[in-house]
C-alpha cells in the first residue's frame, strides 16, 4: 500500500474485488501486475493502429542515431524501468515519485528523443 499514491487509494480498493480467471490463477496474478501488462498491451495496440493510420518516419532527436516512434517508445520504457530501479536502489522515498519522474522522462523521450 505504501507505494500507492493517496489519491489512488479508492480506485485501488475497488480493483481488489477482481480475480484472475481460473485457468490463469497459477500465474499468481495481482492487480498492479495485471494493470502493468494491460498498459503494455494497450501501448502495443495503440502503436500498431498509429502505424496504420500515420506511418512513422525516422527522425533525428537528441540521440546520435535517428529514431522511429517504436524506438522512442522502447527507449522511453527502458529508461523508465531503470529510473524506478535506480530509485529503489538509492533512496527510501516512495516509489511513485520515481513514477512521476519517469513520466516526465517518457514525455521528453517521445517528443524530442
Amino acid at each position: 500500500m505504501e507505494n500507492v499514491p493517496p489519491f489512488l487509494v479508492p480506485l485501488w480498493t475497488w480493483l481488489q474485488g477482481f480475480q484472475a480467471p481460473e485457468a490463469l490463477r497459477w500465474m499468481n496474478w495481482t492487480i498492479p501486475t495485471a494493470l502493468f501488462f494491460i498498459a503494455i498491451g494497450v501501448m502495443l495496440l495503440v502503436m500498431t493502429l498509429l502505424e496504420l493510420v500515420w506511418p512513422t518516419q525516422e527522425r533525428k532527436g537528441f540521440w546520435p542515431m535517428p529514431t522511429t516512434r517504436g524506438d522512442r517508445l522502447f527507449i522511453g520504457l527502458l529508461g523508465a524501468a531503470f529510473l524506478h530501479l535506480g530509485w529503489l536502489g538509492i533512496t527510501d522515498l516512495p516509489l511513485w515519485w520515481a513514477s512521476i519522474l519517469a513520466l516526465g522522462w517518457f514525455t521528453v523521450e517521445m517528443r524530442y528523443g
Partner: protein, 289 residues
C-alpha cells in the same frame, strides 16, 4: 518500386509467435508476478510491493556478482572477437586444409557445457591434469584454481575462450568467404597494403556477422552458468560466482521465489539494455559506411 504487399504472409509468423508466447512471454509474465509476492506455497502468496527489489539492489551478493559478471563479459568480448577475426583471416580458403580447419574449429562447439566444465576441471588439476601439471611442474608456477581466485578466474576465462572463440571464427570465416573477389582485385590494382585491405574491405564487410557474434557472445557470457559451476563451483569463496549461479542458488536452492524473480527481472533489464546499445551502435556504424 512496385512491391506487392501480401499481408497473408503475416499468418506464417503465428507458429513462432505461439511458441515464443509459451516458452518466453508467459513465463516472463509469471516471473513479473512473482517479483511482488512472498510465496509460501501454491495459493499462499502475500503482496510485498517493491521490497524484493530493494533487497536485491542493496545486497552485496548481487552487486558483487554484477561487477564480476560485467568484467567477465567485457574480457570475453575483448579476447574472443579480435582472436576470432585473426584466426578466421589465417584459415585456408579452399582445399582439404580448409575442411580440416573447419572441423577442428567446430569441435569445441559440439561439446556439451557440463562436459566442457569436466574436461577443464581435470585438465587444470596439478596432479593428474595435463595443463595443471605442465604449469605447476614444468613452468614451476603456483597454479591452483581451487584455492587461488586469480587462477580460478584465468581458468574459467581460458575455458570460455576455448569453447566459444570457434563460434566467432566460423561466423567471420563465412563472412570473409562471402566477399566477392572483385574487391580484392580492385585493392591489388590500387596497391593497397594488407592492413588497408583488412581495414577498408574485410572489416566493413564483416560488420553483419560481427554484430551477431558480439550479441551472441555478450548474452551467452552474461548468462554463463554451467562451466564455472562445474569447474570452480563459484569459488574459491565467491570469486567466480556469476549472476546466474547466484540466481539459481536463490530460486532452486533456497526456494526464495520472490527475491529470485526480482533478481531475474533486474538481470533481464541489464541484458536488454546492453543488447540494445550494442545493436544500435553497430548497425549505426554500418549506416555511416
Amino acid at each position: 518500386m512496385n512491391k506487392t504487399w501480401n499481408n497473408a504472409a503475416w499468418l506464417l509468423v503465428v507458429p513462432v509467435f505461439l511458441l515464443v508466447a509459451f516458452s518466453a512471454i508467459i513465463p516472463l509474465m509469471t516471473v513479473v508476478n512473482y517479483a511482488f509476492l512472498d510465496i509460501f506455497g501454491p495459493g499462499e502468496t502475500y503482496w510485498v510491493g517493491t521490497d524484493w527489489f530493494r533487497q536485491v539492489l542493496a545486497s552485496d551478493d548481487f552487486q558483487g556478482a554484477l561487477v564480476r559478471q560485467l568484467i567477465f563479459s567485457g574480457m570475453v568480448l575483448l579476447i574472443e572477437i579480435p582472436l576470432g577475426i585473426t584466426v578466421a583471416l589465417a584459415m585456408p580458403a579452399k582445399g582439404w586444409t580448409a575442411s580440416l580447419a573447419l572441423v577442428l574449429m567446430a569441435l569445441p562447439l559440439l561439446i556439451p557445457w557440463n562436459v566442457v566444465g569436466t574436461i577443464w576441471q581435470i585438465y587444470g588439476r596439478g596432479d593428474i591434469g595435463l595443463m595443471g601439471w605442465f604449469v605447476t611442474r614444468v613452468l614451476g608456477l603456483d597454479y591452483n584454481y581451487t584455492a587461488d581466485p586469480l587462477a580460478a578466474w584465468i581458468t574459467v576465462l581460458v575455458m570460455d575462450v576455448w569453447h566459444w572463440t570457434p563460434l566467432v571464427v566460423l561466423l567471420c570465416y563465412a563472412g570473409l568467404r562471402a566477399i566477392p573477389d572483385a574487391f580484392y582485385q580492385a585493392a591489388a590494382i590500387d596497391g593497397a597494403s594488407k592492413w588497408k585491405v583488412f581495414r577498408y574491405i574485410q572489416l566493413p564487410k564483416l560488420r553483419g556477422v560481427l554484430l551477431i557474434a558480439v550479441l551472441l557472445r555478450f548474452m551467452d557470457s552474461f548468462m554463463i552458468y554451467t562451466e564455472p559451476f562445474v569447474v570452480t563451483g563459484g569459488g574459491p569463496g565467491n570469486a567466480t560466482t556469476f549472476l546466474s549461479q547466484q540466481l539459481v542458488k536463490q530460486a532452486l536452492g533456497q526456494f526464495d521465489l520472490g527475491p529470485a524473480a526480482a533478481y531475474s527481472l533486474v538481470y533481464f533489464l541489464i541484458i536488454l539494455l546492453f543488447s540494445f546499445v550494442f545493436y544500435t551502435a553497430m548497425s549505426r556504424i554500418g549506416q555511416a559506411e
